[in-house]
């Protein structure tokens, strides 16, 4: 483990990373004043200096920095936002502890597995195929032996949408460019659509992300658009697959 070797030179702290961690946990360094981004940057510099990526150490660093980030983000929530915070600081610590214990538990178990693997290292098994005359005797399953309902059920499972994550406690809506791209591509199959109808009834964030998605479509040469007056509706057209890219944004 080489994390202690990571030396930090930050505004409020200078010294090895593990000492910082200990100080934060002992509250001798205020997590709120600590720029975690600087710690990450210092770590990246450290990696670059070493010229190699030790995955084990990197994993450990990521777990620790993520734990610190989570702790800090909880600390940063103002107290009167209590209803937004469904976890008490005590609970947060419990949760963090549970997570650390769990990660540690399976890391130890993996060491045990590696020991078993090493113990069996010289053991090989026969991988030769069956002799041809025996292979011929393998009769295929009988005709009509499979129930087509198995396929229908599989389709049903695949059609199931995962539950949407409750984001009540976060004020911004989560809309991804990918989702809006998908939506626009759906509309584009008709050949053309108006931007107005693409975002009808949507909130401002969704409209903004839809604009990004539209730019993406244009960049990829899948669509071009026209807008005849400022703030007027935008007409979006599909670009035929072979058609050359045309700059026609207005």
């Amino acid at each position: 483990m080489t994390l202690p070797a990571l030396d930090l030179d930050l505004e409020i702290f200078s010294g090895p990373f593990d000492l910082l961690l200990a100080l934060v946990l002992r509250e001798e360094v205020d997590l709120l004043e600590l720029e975690l981004a600087d710690v990450v940057l210092a770590y990246l510099d450290h990696l670059e200096g070493r010229g190699e990526l030790d995955l084990e150490t990197a994993t450990e660093f990521i777990v620790l920095i993520a734990a610190l980030l989570e702790l800090k983000s909880r600390l940063m929530l103002a107290e009167d936002d209590e209803e937004l915070l469904d976890i008490e600081p005590g609970e947060a610590a419990e949760e963090l502890l549970e997570r650390m214990l769990q990660a540690r538990r399976y890391r130890s178990a993996s060491t045990h597995l590696l020991e078993l693997f090493a113990r069996e290292a010289g053991v090989r098994f026969r991988g030769a195929p069956l002799p041809a005359r025996l292979r011929k005797s393998i009769v295929p399953a009988g005709e009509g032996s499979q129930d087509p309902a198995v396929l229908g059920q599989a389709m049903g499972r695949l059609l199931r949408m995962p539950p949407t994550i409750s984001l009540r406690h976060i004020s911004t809506q989560r809309v991804t460019v990918a989702e809006r791209l998908h939506h626009l591509r759906g509309l584009l199959r008709r050949g053309r659509f108006s931007f107005e109808e693409a975002v009808r009834g949507e909130d401002r964030m969704t409209v903004a992300v839809t604009v990004f998605a539209l730019l993406e479509l244009y960049k990829r040469g899948e669509a071009h658009w026209e807008q005849h007056e400022s703030f007027g509706d935008i007409a979006v057209h599909a670009v035929a697959a072979a058609a050359p890219l045309r700059a026609s944004a207005g």
Binding site: R124, V139, S145, Q146, M155, L158, M161, H182
Partner: protein, 208 residues
Amino acid sequence: MSEDLVEDLPEPDLALVYTIEALLFLAPDPLSAQELADATEAEEMAVIASLATLAERYAPGRSGIHLRELGGGFTFASDPETEDAARRLFSRPRASALTPAQAETLAIVAYLQPVSRPEITRIRGVSADSAASTLLERGLVEESGRSQFGAVLYRTTTQFLKLFGLRSIDELPDVAQWDPSPEEQAELRERLLRAGEARAGGDPPGVE
């Protein structure tokens, strides 16, 4: 093993006998004395002496595995007298014919054909490569040209129809009865892709 070789051979070294035994057991094809000598870093004469010892141990009437000399090499083979049992063992119909991954992949190909591997992966949310290979091997799906982007397309085979007792692909059951949200109007393919992408986005942590 010819008789004249067995005479006047050095006393075989047991460790070498066991090593050669293991190599013959592991190798899918016959091994020559030379190959065995190279692998064991032993003299060819010592290898031949070991083979003679093994030939006695793995002889008809003494073992269900026989040491045979085939095409200039040596190999273990099962006693032909045990073949009835072997046939019973290997011809048993497989208990569960399709794994969940195979059933999903086959359903996607059956309902959407022709369909490409990347598309199957997008719908499943995880790679379908191993399942698709097994279905190809089992002759339930086959290639049917390429998509406009060059990806291999798959469709089901006559063997598939037979196995599921279908006269044609139109006889596939209507998905509606298993559809979790039958009120949705969109095309099946589009809905599958949407659900697949939502799944690939990851489940909310901690809800499993």
